[in-house]
């Protein structure tokens, strides 16, 4: 991905934009999938972000910051998607089965446990955790990507991490109790 390519796309060159998307789309889709935890919504959000990126590209201030700008487009599209009220299909993680190792049952259950805990987080906390743990970004880089103060990023990561820990521990406690009906 070169600055020249970005500048050509900014001037309306579709081929250049296509090349940029070809290089970025998989990562953008992974970002949306992790934030939304729903295949259909992630596909919608990624598509929307790509279309918005094309439309808004001439407004990009610094071509060297194209990737960060693009990630922000995806994050905003995810937030928009999350605000929509229609209900969607259960998340598809079918590729998970292809990657199971050792004990598939245990591995699947552990993944499910983390997934359930992660889904309980607000989208904003999920986003910061994904950018940190999957994209390996520093607090400063996350702040620049999201257009937020560094302090806000730190607090979202802190609260998100604490909420994950609490949810996993709560799951542990529930898992150790016998199942049964509770009546209020």
């Amino acid at each position: 991905m070169s600055v020249e390519e970005v500048e050509r796309a900014m001037r309306g060159d579709h081929d250049a934009f296509g090349a940029l998307m070809g290089a970025s789309a998989n990562r953008l889709y992974a970002l949306a999938s992790l934030i939304l935890r729903d295949t259909d919504r992630a596909q919608d959000a990624t598509q929307e972000a790509i279309v918005r990126a094309w439309r808004e590209l001439p407004r990009l201030r610094d071509p060297e910051r194209f990737e960060a700008w693009l990630r922000r487009m995806v994050v905003n599209a995810c937030y928009d998607e999350g605000r929509r009220t229609r209900r969607r299909a259960e998340v598809s993680l079918l590729h998970l089965a292809e990657r199971q190792v050792v004990d598939p049952t245990v591995r699947f259950a552990e993944s499910e446990r983390i997934d359930h805990a992660f889904r309980r987080l607000p989208l904003e906390q999920r986003t910061t955790l994904v950018l940190q743990h999957q994209f390996g970004m520093s607090h400063v880089e996350i702040a620049e990507t999201l257009g937020l103060p560094v302090g806000t990023v730190k607090s979202r990561i802190r609260y998100g991490t604490a909420a994950m820990r609490a949810a996993l521990e709560a799951d542990d406690r529930v898992g150790s109790q016998p199942a049964g009906e509770k009546t209020a």
Partner: protein, 416 residues
């Protein structure tokens, strides 16, 4: 020290999990469709003064200011000319500059011109996600797990009943005389709300990831997504009394449920089928393959002669099933996403979200043609895409993007 190690452990756990579940590649059709959309989308047009501040290097900034100055000078000269003075230039008419980009021209006019329908009430609600009716009242489930009743006599929202906070949208709601039933997939729970006592009276652990819920008076049915099963609960005992295996285990299993034509109907995206269950024997009556372009992950409308199910991914579709042959006989295409339909005057209606363009519209689908034959718009800001239910002589539509429920007159759905 322990806390620090614990944070590191959690970070490693998250990284490993994200590596595992993150998709490695975007589906090619999704990327192709996105790129195709850009082909018909215009880029924003930058005016000279916008370009002036875009660049950061001093030389470019100077050039930008020069451009801006030139533009300003040009504007001044034209304005002067327009007043009859100056250099004798005759200004030609020019379009008024707009701060917003010019939208791409529509390739063809819409086939159906939407007509208006005027709501009789607009009820404010905080993040309404789903609607259900017990025949007389309308119940709302919000994105934060609150259940609220709309009193049709006053159009007022009752006090909220909390079922526990949640942050995702995989909850279902169903209501009848046995109560209001709500699923919560995060905790694998079915809540029973007593509408008179106005509180959750029973919390029932159900399955792995319960999603759709349906109460039919004598039974409560729950779609357990990842178990590939539909569970039957006896409302008299609040116990699971039957488990019907309708598809494979794993993600994207049984989603939403409906009752009609002597059967329970459930959509199963991961094997691309709709399954029909006999409620007297809990046996599967039919497994109906659904065309691949219409993932059966939406909700149902059941008329005396047809079963309809909305899709939820890709180009929005509504699948038409003939209940006498249990075969798909048509696919209706919508111009936006839709979810829970309502049957009005024997025809299925869906609320269609056409975003980013507004307004959305209520669409009627004709069984004879499998096409939309009537559209109604309940106001210029209507978002569409939410549930529709019929209750208390009115149609109720979730306009969640505007944080409100609209009440619409039934008579307005049969114009002319």
């Amino acid at each position: 020290m322990t806390r620090e190690r614990s944070d590191r452990d959690l970070a490693a756990l998250l990284e490993a999990w994200m590596d595992e579940v993150a998709p490695t590649a975007i589906p090619v059709p999704v990327l192709e469709e996105a790129f195709a959309r850009t082909m018909s989308a215009s880029q924003v047009r930058l005016y000279p003064w916008e370009r002036a501040v875009r660049r950061t290097s001093p030389s470019r900034r100077i050039a930008g200011f020069a451009l801006a100055a030139t533009a300003a000078l040009l504007v001044a000269v034209l304005a002067f000319g327009a007043l009859g003075g100056g250099l004798g230039m005759t200004p030609s008419p020019s379009p008024t500059p707009s701060a917003t980009p010019v939208p791409p021209s529509s390739p063809s006019p819409p086939a159906i011109v939407p007509g208006p329908i005027t709501p009789t009430a607009s009820i404010p609600a905080d993040q309404p996600m789903a609607l259900a009716s017990d025949g007389t009242s309308v119940w709302i489930l919000t994105a934060t797990g609150l259940v609220q009743r709309i009193d049709p006599a006053t159009n007022k929202l009752g006090a909220a009943i909390s079922t526990g906070a949640t942050t995702d949208a995989y909850q279902g709601i169903s209501a009848d005389r046995s109560g209001v039933w709500v699923t919560e997939s995060n905790t694998a729970t079915l809540f029973r709300v007593d509408p008179v006592a106005h509180k959750v009276v029973t919390t029932i652990p159900v399955g792995n990831t319960p999603k759709g819920v349906l109460t039919t008076g004598s039974a409560v049915w729950v779609a357990d997504v990842r178990s590939g099963t539909v569970l039957r609960i006896d409302p008299a005992t609040n116990k699971v009394v039957a488990t019907v295996t309708v598809g494979p285990t794993g993600d994207s299993g049984p989603n939403w449920l409906a009752s009609g034509l002597g059967s329970i109907w459930v959509g199963i995206p991961n094997n691309q089928t709709v399954v029909r269950i006999d409620p007297t024997t809990n046996a599967i009556q039919a497994t109906i393959p659904i065309p691949v372009e219409a993932s059966p992950c939406g909700s149902f409308a059941i008329t005396p002669a047809a079963v309809w199910i909305t899709s939820c991914g890709g180009p929005p579709k509504v699948t038409h099933i003939d209940p006498t042959t249990n075969a798909v006989v048509g696919l209706a295409t919508l111009d936006g996403t839709a979810y829970t339909p309502a049957v009005i005057d024997g025809a299925p209606w869906v609320s269609v979200d056409t975003s980013p363009s507004l307004p959305g519209a209520l669409n009627r689908i004709a069984a004879a043609t499998n096409a939309v034959d009537l559209k109604l718009v309940p106001g210029p800001t209507f978002g569409g895409g939410g549930d529709m239910v019929v209750a208390a002589g009115s149609v109720w539509v979730n306009d969640g993007g505007n944080n409100r429920i609209l009440r619409l007159p039934l008579a307005g759905f049969t114009p002319g």
